[in-house]
């Protein structure tokens, strides 16, 4: 069993995560309705028991979901496992998903929660790896083709040097290009908290990268 699968088995089934997922479904009301008729039809079909239609949603969102997970856990294998678990979890709870809403924010929220749990688990139980985080993180950079570029490397270094939530919020905003409200919903935070994290992160990034944009 892979690391992420172990985490999933141990933590994701907990009531806290279930609550978050239920909250996530309820919270999606503020997001504009899906304007993709194919997606809407696929969701309705899955709700009516046609598991085959889920492929449409998996194909559409898998790439982005893996990217979000990778940005948080910085490990390709774990990110793929987490993305897989996120889609299975979404399928299991699709009955609670409101028809007409876009599927994206919902699956992004699920994968973000799973990834944050994986990260917490890793911090709690794998101190020995955290102490060696630098070389591990550097190895994972091989996953990014953009790393050949000095500018990208500097930006990635700067984002990765940020502490905990600032790093994740900055990554979701800068790399994944989500808006504040979307990040807030994905992470179960208020928009104000996201703005605050981002503001602090922005200051630190400006300090570190000022020479790039003179």
């Amino acid at each position: 069993m892979t690391y992420a699968a172990t985490i999933y088995g141990g933590l994701v089934n907990g009531p806290l995560v279930l609550d978050r997922l239920i909250f996530a479904v309820q919270d999606e009301a503020s997001i504009t309705a899906s304007d993709d008729p194919i997606e809407r039809r696929a969701i309705d079909a899955v709700k009516n028991g046609d598991a085959g239609s889920y492929d449409v949603l998996v194909s559409k969102y898998m790439k982005r979901v893996v990217s979000i997970a990778w940005g948080i856990v910085r490990n390709a294998t774990d990110a793929e496992d987490l993305a897989q678990e996120a889609f299975v979890k979404a399928f299991q709870t699709i009955g609670r998903f409101r028809s007409g809403e876009p599927f994206g924010p919902w699956i992004y929220r699920i994968v973000t929660n799973l990834s944050l749990d994986a990260l917490k688990h890793r911090t709690r139980f794998r101190h020995e790896e955290i102490s060696e985080a630098e070389p591990a993180a550097r190895r994972d950079r091989a996953d990014l083709p953009a790393m050949a570029n000095e500018l990208s490397r500097r930006i990635d270094d700067a984002i990765e040097s940020l502490p905990g939530m600032q790093r994740i919020v900055a990554r979701l905003s800068l790399v994944e290009q989500f808006e504040h409200g979307e990040i807030a919903r994905m992470m179960g935070l208020t928009e104000g908290t996201v703005r605050s994290h981002l503001s602090i992160a922005r200051g630190k990034l400006m300090e570190k990268l000022a020479d790039l944009y003179d």
Partner: protein, 104 residues
């Protein structure tokens, strides 16, 4: 350069840092999800899994109760035997204008 300009340029430059899983990985992941989802019971199936034994138990109980009631009622309505009738009811016999009562 203002803060906003700095952040906008940073956003543009950071976009390529998005992790792009290759097509092979995406296909493999989609296949794994498909496999797990196909094995996953739907809500209706889960409910059916719970309700089916409950429904069978209730039906059995109802059947046993019906049979018991019927059996009890049939026993209650059985015809009175001669012994029973004699022990409860008086029998009157008339001979030569005289009436004799038996069983009291």
């Amino acid at each position: 350069m203002t803060d906003e300009q700095f952040f906008e340029r940073l956003r543009d430059d950071a976009r390529p840092l998005r992790y792009e899983a290759d097509d092979v990985a995406l296909t493999r992941l989609a296949a794994r999800v498909r496999e797990r989802v196909a094995a996953e019971p739907t809500v209706a199936q889960l409910l059916a899994r719970w309700f089916r034994p409950v429904a069978v138990s209730l039906a059995t109980l109802a059947l046993v109760a019906t049979l018991s009631v019927q059996w009890y009622e049939r026993n209650q309505q059985q015809p009175v035997t001669l012994d029973a009738a004699m022990s409860t009811d008086a029998v009157e016999i008339s001979v030569d204008g005289n009436t004799y009562t038996l069983g009291q």
